[in-house]
């Protein structure tokens, strides 16, 4: 599974209620739309750090950077250049 699919699956599982069919793709606003609450962004950060064996500094884990799967992928690739 590629990085995009992996992150989308995590977001759906972690943030959508059971039966919620909201479509999430790489460009879907996550935080500004209310799908991801800014409080539990920390678990998304932990998931990325564990999955890609990286450490994202708190000052880079902003609501803007985490607001779409595309944004998250760019951030991860910055710290794990080889990750796909």
């Amino acid at each position: 599974m590629g990085m995009k699919e992996l992150i989308i699956d995590y977001v759906k599982d972690e943030y959508l209620e059971e039966g919620d069919e909201t479509e999430i793709n790489e460009g879907t606003p996550l935080i500004s739309s209310g799908i991801v609450d800014s409080f539990s962004m920390v678990s998304l950060k932990m998931f990325l750090e564990k999955t890609y064996n990286i450490s994202i500094p708190d000052e880079r884990a902003t609501t803007e950077a985490f607001d779409s799967v595309n944004g998250i992928i760019s951030l991860v690739k910055e710290f794990a250049p080889g990750a796909e």
Partner: protein
């Protein structure tokens, strides 16, 4: 003048956006004491209309109760109007500590500290007891003031899906390396009137060595056999580490709040909670009246029993009438309408029928979850409830929603 045209234009545009977004909040002037029968001026400048109030947090009907008003008068005479001080300089009277002790006894905790409001209790609590080495894990539907308090605290923050114990457990497992874990929830959630699974939360807290904090504002005074709150209702008296609650709802409805729980946590609030340290003390008149309220509800369960009866009766009759109601046992009764305009239109028509209720819609509740929230009181008599049921039925027929569920209503009115 520093208030430039640029600033004025900016704020005027913001206010216009709020209005155009249908989110502009307008006050309705009440020309009578708070109670079941109120005289409401709405729209502004129209003559006050007599309506039955079904939207106050006056759960026990004590807001204008003669004994409470009498106690306020006595308190005013005996201890004066204001204290002109924060608590720790010269703002603590004997009656402040007496009320704290009464609340401790009633809630069956170890100690209590008063705050100017429960918003302030929630705003000050977390910062006073947790640091960056700790993790706060909150239900995703906790009250805005709990969220604000968590934001002011340097501890890590995470959340779990609403009342999802499996999700909470996975979160507790994730943070086992933190110094302290704290599970945070409302006792009763204000929009649906649903009750936190405090028994299961306490089990998980024991298993993962976590503290439990509950905002019990919509519960203190009437949930549980003796009205102690959600912790009594769920059979976990003595197991909640910190309860925040308000004196502004069932307990007389004036103002004030508290943190009640483990004595060390309460003492930390006394030393470090900023809204306690830097805000004026609760006025003696409110302390005196609240103290009488705690006496009243400690002596008899008559009022909470009546509220329980009213709740059961209203829920049963409204369900029989064909309304789509969130099931439950709480006097918050959400009449589900799903469509924001339908909720607003029905609330307006009900007001014309003499029933004062409010429609709630996004962003106060999730999109597509618009409803009228009915709040029952021990001060309602059966005839008040019957009038409301009759009016709801009349208006429900007008909009042809009786006997219809979510899909049918959405098909007719959209989301």
């Amino acid at each position: 003048m520093a208030y430039s045209d640029k600033a004025r234009d900016f704020y005027q545009k913001e206010l216009l956006d709020i209005r155009e977004g249908g989110l502009f909040k307008e006050e309705r002037y009440i020309h009578s004491p708070q109670g079941v029968n109120v005289d409401v001026e709405f729209p502004a400048d129209s003559p006050p209309k007599k309506v039955i109030n079904f939207c106050a947090n006056n759960y026990l009907g004590l807001s204008s109760h003669p004994e409470v008003v009498g106690a306020a008068h006595k308190g005013l005479d005996a201890r004066g109007y204001g204290m002109s001080s924060v608590r720790f300089i010269c703002g603590t009277q004997d009656i402040h500590r007496e009320l704290e002790n009464k609340l401790t006894k009633f809630l069956e905790t170890e100690d209590t500290i008063l705050f100017p409001s429960c918003m302030d209790a929630n705003g000050g609590f977390f910062e006073a007891v947790l640091t960056k080495d700790d993790i706060m894990i909150a239900d995703r539907l906790v009250h805005a003031s709990v969220i604000d308090g968590m934001r002011l605290c340097s501890a890590q923050r995470d959340s779990y899906k609403h009342s999802d114990m499996k999700h909470l457990e996975s979160k507790l497992g994730q943070y086992k390396d933190a110094r302290f874990r704290m599970v945070i929830t409302d006792g009763v959630f204000s929009m649906d009137g649903d009750i936190a699974k405090l028994d299961e939360i306490c089990e998980l807290a024991d298993k993962y060595d976590a503290m439990v904090m509950v905002d019990d504002s919509h519960s203190t005074g009437f949930m549980g056999k003796h009205g102690k709150g959600t912790h009594e209702h769920c059979g976990v008296l003595g197991r909640i580490d910190a309860i925040t609650t308000t004196l502004g709802k069932a307990l007389g409805g004036a103002s004030g709040g508290c943190v009640s729980g483990r004595k060390e946590l309460v003492e930390m609030c006394r030393q470090r909670a900023r809204p306690y340290l830097f805000s004026n003390t609760m006025p003696p008149v409110i302390v005196a009246a609240a103290s009488t309220v705690v006496d009243l509800i400690s002596q008899t369960t008559e009022r909470r029993d009546k509220l329980e009866w009213n709740t059961k009766y209203f829920r049963e009759k409204m369900t029989s009438a064909g309304f789509d109601i969130r099931e439950g046992v709480h006097p918050i009764v959400p009449i589900m309408l799903y469509n924001a305009k339908l909720a607003q239109d029905m609330a307006r028509d009900l007001f014309q029928e003499g029933i004062y209720v409010i429609g709630f819609f996004f962003p106060v509740v999730a999109k597509g979850q618009a409803r009228i929230r009915v709040q029952l009181s021990a001060a309602h008599e059966k005839e008040h409830l019957d009038k409301a049921i009759a009016a709801f039925t009349k208006i429900g027929k007008k909009y042809d929603i009786l006997g219809k569920g979510k899909d049918d209503i959405i098909a007719m009115y959209g989301l």
